[in-house]
């Protein structure tokens, strides 16, 4: 029986497809897109066998199953390619495989006719393999390798249309920004490994919870890891790369920059949560970071005009929300929101892609009235929007409430702030929807040419819409009981800390009212006459509007930081090398001491003697220190 022992096949199949496509894609019919789709489908089917196996084994004593083999064994340095299948991984895998499959299918339509069609699917296959590896990795080193690999895929796909200057720059920005976090992760991994002597995650967690690692040491290591999570999940202040990443093709935004790769940071925190729980202050830190990101991004989303960027800021906002959940140790809620968010955010992006495909613009100002032309897209989009706004019966409602409940206990200020977040989500979601589909069409030429997308694009939309409608109900005990897992997803997935969904009227009421208020207010602003009322509203305080419109000037701040910081430092060193060492060190000394009556023109570029001088200075410094050390 194929079961959890076959978990290694989940990444292996797409990896095989990647290798095949890399070598022979140009000789295959349709550039080999069917190979990638077939591989992901196979993984998807296999996933259900693994899931079934997991369900039969669940119980109080079940932690997970580890499979794999030793990759490198070098003296005391063992490197395993090991896969650890447990409930957290399964939840994340569900999101990865479902969205990946849908995006593959969708891309056959969206990318149709692109000159690098085959290459696109090649990288997608690699991404699916790497992402599954990341999720299933049972040791931190393998996780890190997969972590970097998805980063490379992201780099390649953001810069997919590298002829466009902006795309290439965005790719570089994303790569470099996340690399900062990656270095932190690597240092954290090495620190933990140094103390525990193994990369195995379960052993490390055990060591952390049983007090084998000193608190200060553990704090430092976890802080470095947090840096990695923040970079990947685009938390403040690393968030700048994610909106720019929208330069990539829209299916990529849906898969990598909404549903899967960007939540890897959340996943890492969830994975390491037992260790984070040991240190009391870290939870608060994570919550604060998440809160800043969540609220800040939601505010910015209210003033963007690019359809993809609005959704990107919405993603940022939701990522911040999940960070808050992790900080409050609301594991169940956080992971559940990760799953539902993957569905509805991918749906939003794919819907937006469908719109862009039809009208070939991303400016919401040029859209409007599209509901008549694109009924399926509109229908699915509205479901996604309602889920994003967290209104009842849609999946976002359940997961959001689960988190709110987790946060509420003992963290009242955060709870109140999150209610404000729900309100803001309502505003920008409604605005996005209204501007895109309702009101008069503001660009008649584009409107006339608009058409519904082909079935291979609408089918994934419908599937994701159905999932968005239904996934939330899995939280309920009664639904779970009917499907064979009493207690709902909370109890099923997290056997050791069952948090079955209990409908709490206060929370639901407060959150729903907040969200509804935001939606209704915005509908009032944008109803009928288009954005005029909203414009008047913005004119009340143009400065504030400009601040929001310009994303709080964080990018400009960074650019200045890069200009004056990193490059300045290297300029300084190069300048030092050129002028101080070369000219001033030579010139200045000569002038200062005045021993030699050389004129300036002879003092240029005393290269070879300068080189020798540098060597002797090195010798003397070392010799003097060494001699004074022992005398």
């Amino acid at each position: 029986m194929v079961g959890m022992n076959a978990a290694w096949l989940l990444p292996a199949i797409p990896a095989g497809a990647f290798a095949l496509l890399l070598l022979v894609r140009n000789f295959l019919p349709r550039k080999g897109d069917w190979v990638a789709i077939g591989a992901v489908t196979a993984s998807f089917v296999l996933f259900f066998f693994v899931l079934h196996d997991l369900m039969t084994r669940l119980g109080p004593n079940f932690h997970g199953v580890s499979t794999g083999f030793t990759w490198l064994k070098i003296d005391n340095f063992v490197l395993r390619v090991g896969f650890f299948t447990d409930p957290i991984a399964i939840v994340m895998l569900a999101a990865v495989l479902v969205v990946s499959l849908m995006v593959h299918v969708y891309s056959t339509g969206y990318m149709h006719g692109d000159s690098r069609y085959g290459w696109f699917f090649t990288v997608l296959a690699l991404f699916t393999a790497a992402m599954s590896t990341l999720v299933l990795a049972d040791n931190l080193l393998l996780l890190y390798v997969a972590w970097e690999l998805v980063g490379i895929c992201s780099f390649l796909l953001i810069g997919f249309w590298w002829e466009r200057q902006s795309a290439a720059e965005a790719a570089k920005k994303a790569f470099v920004t996340t690399r900062v976090g990656d270095v932190g992760l690597l240092i954290g991994v090495i620190l933990l490994w140094k103390k525990v002597g193994t990369f195995d995650i379960q052993t490390v967690l055990h060591a952390a919870t049983s007090g084998q690692i000193g608190h200060t040491y553990l704090t430092v290591a976890l802080l470095f890891m947090l840096l990695g999570a923040m970079g990947k999940s685009a938390q403040f202040p690393f968030h700048v790369w994610l909106p720019d990443a929208m330069e990539g093709p829209t299916p990529v935004s849906a898969l990598i920059h909404a549903a899967t790769m960007v939540v890897a940071g959340i996943y890492l925190l969830a994975r390491m949560l037992p260790a984070y729980m040991v240190i009391t202050g870290l939870g608060t830190l994570i919550m604060v970071i998440g809160m800043i990101t969540a609220i800040g991004a939601a505010v910015i989303a209210c003033a963007q005009t690019d359809i993809k960027r609005i959704i990107a800021y919405s993603t940022l906002s939701n990522l911040g929300f999940m960070f808050v959940a992790m900080g409050a140790h609301a594991l169940t809620g956080g992971m559940f929101h990760l799953l539902t968010h993957a569905f509805f955010k991918a749906l939003l992006f794919l819907g937006a892609g469908s719109v862009i495909h039809a009208v070939e613009t991303q400016e919401v100002g040029d859209l409007g009235g599209l509901w008549r032309k694109m009924p399926i897209t509109m229908g699915t989009f509205v479901i996604a929007c309602l889920a994003n706004a967290g209104l009842p019966v849609f999946s976002g409602f359940f997961s959001k409430d689960l988190v709110l409940e987790g946060v509420m206990h003992g963290n009242t200020p955060y709870y109140v702030a999150l209610l404000a977040w729900v309100f803001l989500s309502g505003i920008y979601t409604a605005r996005l929807f209204m501007l895109t589909f309702f009101g008069p069409s503001r660009d008649h030429h584009r409107y006339e040419h608009a058409h519904e997308s082909p079935p291979n694009m609408t089918l994934p939309l419908v599937v994701l819409a159905v999932l968005t409608l239904l996934a939330g109900w899995l939280a309920l005990d009664s639904v779970g009981r009917a499907l064979g897992f009493p207690g709902g997803v909370g109890e099923f997935v997290f056997v050791h800390e069952p948090e079955a969904y209990r409908f709490s009227f206060t929370v639901a009421f407060a959150a729903t009212s907040a969200g509804l208020l935001g939606v209704l207010a915005t509908m009032y602003l944008y109803w009928g006459g288009g954005p005029e009322r909203a414009r008047r509203f913005a004119d009340y305080s143009p400065d504030v509007y400009a601040l929001i419109r310009n994303k709080f000037y964080v990018d400009e701040l960074y650019q200045a930081g890069i200009n004056y910081g990193v490059l300045g430092l290297s300029h300084a060193v190069a300048w030092f090398d050129r002028y101080v060492v070369n000219d001033t060190g030579v010139n200045g000394t000569a002038q200062l001491t005045g021993w030699l009556g050389y004129r300036l023109k002879f003092l240029q570029n005393g290269k070879l003697p300068t080189y020798a001088l540098a060597m002797i200075v090195g010798v003397l410094v070392m010799a003097i220190v060494a001699l004074s050390m022992h005398s």
């Binding site: 720059e169 290297s570 060597m615």
Partner: protein, 476 residues
Amino acid sequence: MNHYEVLAPELVLLGLAFALVTLELLFPQLRKDLVAYLTAASAIGVLVASAFFANRSDSFKDLIQLDNYTTFFRILFLGTAALLAIASAHLVRDKLSNAGEYYGLLLLGVIGATYMAAASELLTAYIALELLNFTLYVLVSFDRKDPRSGEAGLKYILLSAFASALLLFGISFIFGVTGTTSYAGIRHALEAGIGEYRGTLVVGLVLLLTGLGFKVAAVPFHMWTPDAYEGAPLPVTAYISIVAKAAGFALFLRLFSQAFMPVISDWRWMVALLAALTMVFGNLIALQQVNIKRLLAYSSISQVGYMLIAIAALSHDSATALLLHLGGYAITNLAAFIAIIAFYNATGGEEIRDFRGLAERHAGLAMTLTIALFSLAGMPLFAGFMTKFILFQAAAQHGLLWLSAFGVVTSMISLYYYLMVIRQMYVLKPRDGDGRLRVPLLTSAVLVVLALGIFFVGIWPTPLFRAAASATRLLF
């Protein structure tokens, strides 16, 4: 003790070098690229033959050791020389004269380099070092038409003679306090206690480190490197950056592990200091470069910083990691340089901005160079990540965690300047009139093999690691 067969590979190589020079003298009309292929064939022949020495342990009068360490480096040097001979074929034919001498010197340099790795006595090590140095002086100044070549040769020979004098003064002090020049003898003498001559000993060590630091290009003894790299003909630049550097480390590692382990606390901080300086300066100054050879010069300087970490954390683990890293570095740098040589042969450009739009002019060349640069930057799956990771973890395990952290952070900076080159190749359009490039078939084949090698080491380093581990086992 007199096992003459220990010397056999180098004797054969010497004979082949003479034969090549004579051949070219006797038949001046011979196609010059044919000489290159003969050189490569000779080197590969000796390489295969010397592989039979694996797991043998002999010595010649305790001067030249034959062990896996020697064999490891012998194969590394011969392989590099063979590939560089192939890569030189077109460039030497078109741009340089005296082809016979060129290839002869390439092989003689390998003899010097191998004896640097094999020597277990300071006099032998010194003279081997000088043999390599002399071949490099000549090779660097080989291009008589390019004034930069002569200038590079002048700077190199004068500074190298200066460094040699410092090194020798250090050796004389070591000899003075221990009464011997053999590694084992020095270790024996140092183990007996160094109470009253520590002062002379540490000054000797400082001078020794200076000489070796110059050879491997460690900051602040590195300043000849960018100039020599830029001035030398391209294949010679590659030769310096791989063979000379690896030979320097081979000598460094054997000497310090076999002779100076008893006084490790006296020199560890010096090496650590040099490593830190080298990583910082190499990476930061590289950001400002516009010439691809100078960029790779600073890149190789920063790589030296990482390698010095292994010496500072000297142990069996770190020595093995160093050899592994050297192996990966050799493959990566070969790929980068051979790609650049092919580019230079086709276009004559060696500025970074000349590479703009290379992806459209020759996709394979751009891809290989990108792979090599990613490997140098230490991206996972590429050789650079795996070898650097093992190196850093070995250092961290032996108490130099801060230095490893230094390495991780500075290698992040390095990504920026490698991306500059990649950006030129992929993001920018070719200039008007820049058409597709032609790359010879053999060069393409070599590049493909090297690119696969980078992935091989990056994904499955076990074979190379086993070789390295068995090479370093006898040192400790």
